[in-house]
């Protein structure tokens, strides 16, 4: 600490002198985001645009650039992310969390409508080439981070269109394909190459790809639906959830019957149930625990209920009853909740001799997914998932990320792709391994003075009228907020742990120790002259966002 001046020495105990320092801290939203998304950073650019001399439009552009440093697919993630960032938002207990997800969506759409392009450090700067297998969020993130660092990147995709699960499994009413197309196209505009319809193992061997490229990244996803293992499961009329969604997305001839049972409580089960409702089916979702234990996003579950999906909890399928080859009914057994498992969720326990029949003609099984290992035999180690190092390194020159390392939300896949790219780049260039950026001290809970901030009503993404939801299976339910609303919503961010120019320290410091920075940037408005500080601690106490703090002892 460059404090050259000797501190006041009086008989008055020195430890009670409270010298201040400026210290950026990790806000709860960023700590909660699997991809460490800097929502405070990009919201701050918008909220402070006048202070930093930007027009609102320039601020949106700049916020988009900041956002896409870590996430190349903001319009996509802004639609589908269950946004854990909002769960611990400091505003939550005051007047509702900042709508970070709606803001991300807004900025994503802003970027598309303005045809903003992703930055490239230096195209073709490095001679190494990189092969990416799969084109889901993990792969796209890895490809983007390598391409912007100047590597040549080729993506190998088994299907015709890139996007992985985003393309195959997320229904149109949650993510219109034009949005995904536009965001992926930006990567190709960075000169990322795509090889379509390339089935590893059939069209080319994995070892051949390893020879072609300096390193390869595996973003295989978890595309194989798994069986429950009950009698009658094999045969027509029973379909894995992921396969059902894929067929519906491709617009193939419907297999949806009129009475559909969906088995499972995750997001795939909900997506399948809601998709089947859009086909006009009567849908019953069967889940072996109760509603609170459902892994699916709460809002998705609520929407499914609104759309008329019946949900039967605490039941497990035991048999599928067929007449000839056709499914006639499903036999289910009553369950009750037992002891909690390792994750704290109560284990379902069968209730003896309590069976029921439910008449259905289609059963969608969405209980679990796993990677499709087809063609990957030389790499697979026999486990259910890939076991990599923390940064995604599997073995020499092979990195992996996304659902092939275990199931997670898309943000996590993006994070794994990014972290793998950062680590791979460091290894290729022989530079120090990038430290996790979570080294910064977190904002201490309750240290943000929420009563300083005026109440402001939360802006949410508007939704179409509920009666229209099922009219058109492709109709997107949520809408994007407008530019005016986005500006208002950005101003709700309390900027936990980073200066937002409230000016109180500057105005109230008895010693006049704070000086305004001429060319201020978002988050940086004043410098504190450490040797002017008189140690009264007033600035620390008035600082609403917990940016000023007690100085570390020298």
């Amino acid at each position: 600490m460059p404090n050259t001046k000797a501190r006041t020495t009086t008989p008055v105990e020195q430890s009670f002198w409270t010298y201040a320092q400026q210290m950026e801290k990790l806000p709860p939203c960023q700590a909660q985001c699997p991809n460490s998304g800097d929502a405070r950073g990009w919201l701050g650019i918008i909220a402070q645009h006048e202070k930093i001399g930007l027009t609102l439009e320039q601020a949106y552009d700049k916020a988009w650039e900041k956002l896409t440093e870590l996430n190349p697919l903001p319009a996509t993630i802004g639609r589908i992310c269950p946004h854990p960032c909002e769960d611990l938002c400091t505003r939550r207990d005051k007047d509702g969390p900042v709508s970070i997800n709606a803001m991300e969506r807004f900025l994503g759409d802003w970027g598309i409508s303005r045809s903003l392009s992703l930055p490239v450090a230096d195209l073709g700067k490095h001679t190494e080439s990189v092969g990416v297998i799969g084109s889901g969020p993990a792969s796209l993130s890895f490809a983007y981070q390598m391409a912007r660092r100047g590597y040549r990147v080729t993506i190998y995709e088994r299907h015709e269109l890139p996007g992985g699960m985003l393309r195959q499994a997320i229904p149109d009413y949650r993510l219109p394909r034009e949005v995904l197309d536009a965001e992926i196209q930006r990567l190709f505009d960075m000169d990322v190459q795509l090889v379509r319809d390339m089935d590893i193992g059939a069209d080319i061997e994995i070892d051949e790809l390893r020879k072609r490229h300096t390193l390869i990244f595996l973003g295989l996803g978890a595309q194989a639906g798994r069986d429950i293992g009950i009698p009658g499961e094999k045969g027509p009329g029973v379909i894995p959830g992921i396969e059902y969604l894929r067929q519906r997305k491709q617009g193939r001839e419907s297999q949806t019957g009129t009475r559909v049972a969906v088995i499972g409580g995750g997001n795939t089960a909900i997506d399948a149930a809601r998709t089947a409702r859009r086909e006009g089916a009567q849908v019953t979702l069967l889940y072996r625990r109760s509603q609170v234990e459902m892994p699916a996003a709460i809002r998705e579950v609520e929407d499914a209920l609104k759309e008329g999906v019946q949900m039967t909890f605490l039941v497990a399928p035991t048999r599928i009853i067929r007449e000839g080859t056709s499914v006639r009914a499903i036999e289910i057994q009553e369950m009750r909740l037992g002891e909690p498992d390792d994750q704290g969720r109560c284990r379902p326990v069968p209730v003896p001799d309590q069976f029921r029949r439910l008449n259905v003609d289609t059963v969608i099984v969405a209980v679990s997914q796993a990677p499709d290992w087809h063609g990957m035999e030389p790499i697979r180690d026999g486990h259910k998932w890939l076991h990599t190092e923390e940064d995604g390194k599997l073995e020499d020159s092979i990195w992996a990320g996304g659902d092939d390392r275990g199931p997670g939300i898309a943000s996590q896949a993006i994070a794994q792709g990014r972290l793998a790219a950062e680590a791979a780049h460091a290894e290729l260039r022989g530079i120090p391994h990038p430290k996790q950026n979570l080294q910064r001290r977190a904002v201490v809970k309750d240290s943000v003075k929420t009563d300083f901030y005026a109440e402001r009503q939360r802006v949410c993404s508007p939704r179409r009228a509920q009666e229209d939801w099922l009219c058109n299976p492709h109709l997107e339910i949520d809408q994007t907020i407008g530019s005016d609303q986005a500006e208002l919503e950005a101003a709700r961010c309390m900027s936990c742990g980073l200066c937002f120019d409230c000016q109180q320290c500057f105005m109230y410091c008895n010693a006049g120790g704070f000086t305004r920075i001429e060319e201020s940037q978002s988050g940086k408005f004043f410098v504190l002259a450490l040797d002017a500080c008189e140690g009264c601690g007033k600035c620390i106490e008035v600082c609403p966002c917990s940016y000023l703090e007690l100085r570390d002892s020298d």
């Binding site: 020495t9 009086t10 008055v12 009670f16 409230c502 105005m507 008895n510 010693a511 008189e534 106490e541």
Partner: protein, 459 residues
């Protein structure tokens, strides 16, 4: 006859910047007077801080002493200080010098003083059943109808006929009259000075205030209901006092730019350490170096602008709240009954500022005498003897005690204090005491305690 100079009209909007005593009292008086003449105006008070916070964030940095006469005057205005605002009634001063201590009892009941907290108590203090003085006044203003806006004003400019007030969050609004009551510990006056050539902000000097947590019972035993004043031979130190308040004792050092050196000398004085239990100065819990106004703003008014309290003119070292009261009332009166143009303020408000300014000149002379006494040991002996003897007698006029009391408490104007020191009996008595107390072989020269037993225990 048509009057073209601007006055407050029905619907006029007034911005008061700062919610300390000056701002709150101004709002209170103005709304009261407007009511009396059926004038319908609105007052927006800008104050982002909350005085319910403990520690410096909710505090307005001062020794926290209010004279009984001001308490009474406020009562006649309908502002009755509740008991939980007054931390401790101060009934005497104890004067500490190297030549001995002497306790000066309150001369008359109306000259008693009250100790208060400007905020909600020192840092980390327990929630007591106490209330902030500033918070109480602000609440009074609110009850009168002032609208408190929790925003920090960062700028002010002329916008056509009216004044535009700008806040840190880019909020801005136009007003017919802006009243500056920010004090001198905010940057706003500096910002305004940089903008306006013709305006000079108040001159300031640095003081020191800190809080010791000692505990009610120990305070009662060692300090009593007495404010302890030190007359020590330390250059640039004009006034030093320990003021008991509840579980805490507030130390207040005033002078010319209090710095490390001066503080070291002060804390090294045995007279100071001896005031505390066991002769040991404990750790403090809270401190600050507030700036005080030592020369009024020039001018303290403008077209549709007036500066009150510390932002305008205040009394030297003492009775800042009394000055806030006087300036607030005069400014409110001018605005309601005369006008809000520069000329109205010049005619009806500036004279008060001038009067305070002139009295401060006299104050400098009086404090100059005080410094002389501080420097000369023989003078200290004389003062000690004269005061001690006065305190022993019940009925005789207490000339020295009265002078010291008014000087310490700010209960009387400096001019008044000065004139009393010119009284022949006072001078004669002082000369006599100077002589007797410094006679060779006089007990006082050997035994520093001149015969007055203080409430506090001796160590």
């Amino acid at each position: 006859m048509p009057d073209l100079s601007p006055t407050l009209q029905d619907g006029s909007r007034i911005a008061v910047i700062g919610g300390g005593p000056a701002g709150s009292m101004f709002s209170y008086f103005l709304l009261n007077m407007a009511d009396a003449v059926a004038l319908d105006v609105s007052v927006d008070m800008f104050e982002p801080r909350r005085f319910c916070h403990r520690g410096p964030a909710g505090c307005n940095h001062c020794g926290g002493v209010v004279s009984e006469s001001l308490v009474q005057r406020l009562a006649t205005e309908g502002i009755i200080l509740p008991e939980d605002v007054v931390q401790r009634g101060i009934e005497s001063y104890t004067l500490h010098m190297d030549v001995g201590d002497v306790e000066i009892a309150t001369p008359l009941m109306e000259k008693r003083i009250a100790a208060i907290y400007r905020g909600n108590g020192p840092r980390h203090s327990e929630p007591l059943d106490t209330e902030s003085f500033d918070g109480f006044l602000l609440q009074k203003a609110q009850e009168k109808g002032a609208n408190v806006i929790r925003r920090l004003v960062t700028d002010m400019s002329r916008e056509g006929e009216r004044m535009r007030v700008r806040c840190a969050d880019e909020f801005c609004d136009d007003y017919d009259l802006v009243v500056l009551a920010t004090g001198v510990n905010s940057r706003l006056m500096e910002v305004l000075e940089d903008q306006a050539q013709e305006f000079t902000r108040p001159e300031r000097t640095k003081t020191f205030i800190c809080e010791f947590r000692i505990g009610r019972d120990v305070i009662k035993k060692h300090f009593g209901p007495s404010m302890h004043v030190f007359l020590l031979d330390i250059p640039r130190l004009e006034f030093a006092a320990l003021i008991p308040k509840g579980d805490y004792v507030t130390l207040c050092l005033l002078g010319d730019d209090i710095d490390d050196d001066l503080m070291r000398q002060f804390f090294d004085s045995p007279e100071v350490a001896n005031c505390f239990p066991g002769g040991i100065i404990p750790s403090h819990v809270c401190h600050c170096f507030p700036r005080i106004n030592i020369k009024a703003a020039q001018p303290a008014y403008g077209e549709r602008v007036v500066m009150i309290g510390d932002s305008g003119a205040t009394r030297l070292f003492k009775d800042g709240i009394g000055a806030a009261y006087r300036t607030a009332k005069a400014a409110a009166k001018t605005a309601v009954f005369h006008g809000i143009d520069a000329d109205s303020f010049k005619t009806h408000y500036a004279p008060l500022c001038r009067k305070i300014h002139n009295d401060n000149k006299m104050g400098k002379v009086v404090f100059g005498f005080g410094s002389l006494v501080q420097k000369a040991r023989f003078a200290r002996r004389g003062v000690l003897r004269m005061t001690a003897n006065e305190q022993k007698q019940v009925s005789a006029p207490r000339r020295m005690s009265g002078v010291l009391w008014d000087l310490f408490s700010g209960s009387a104007s400096y001019t008044d204090v000065f004139l009393r020191t010119l009284h022949p009996v006072y001078i004669g008595s002082l000369l006599w005491n100077l002589m007797v107390s410094n006679l060779p072989g006089n007990a006082a020269t050997k035994n520093p305690v001149a015969g007055v037993e203080c409430d506090r225990a001796k160590h």
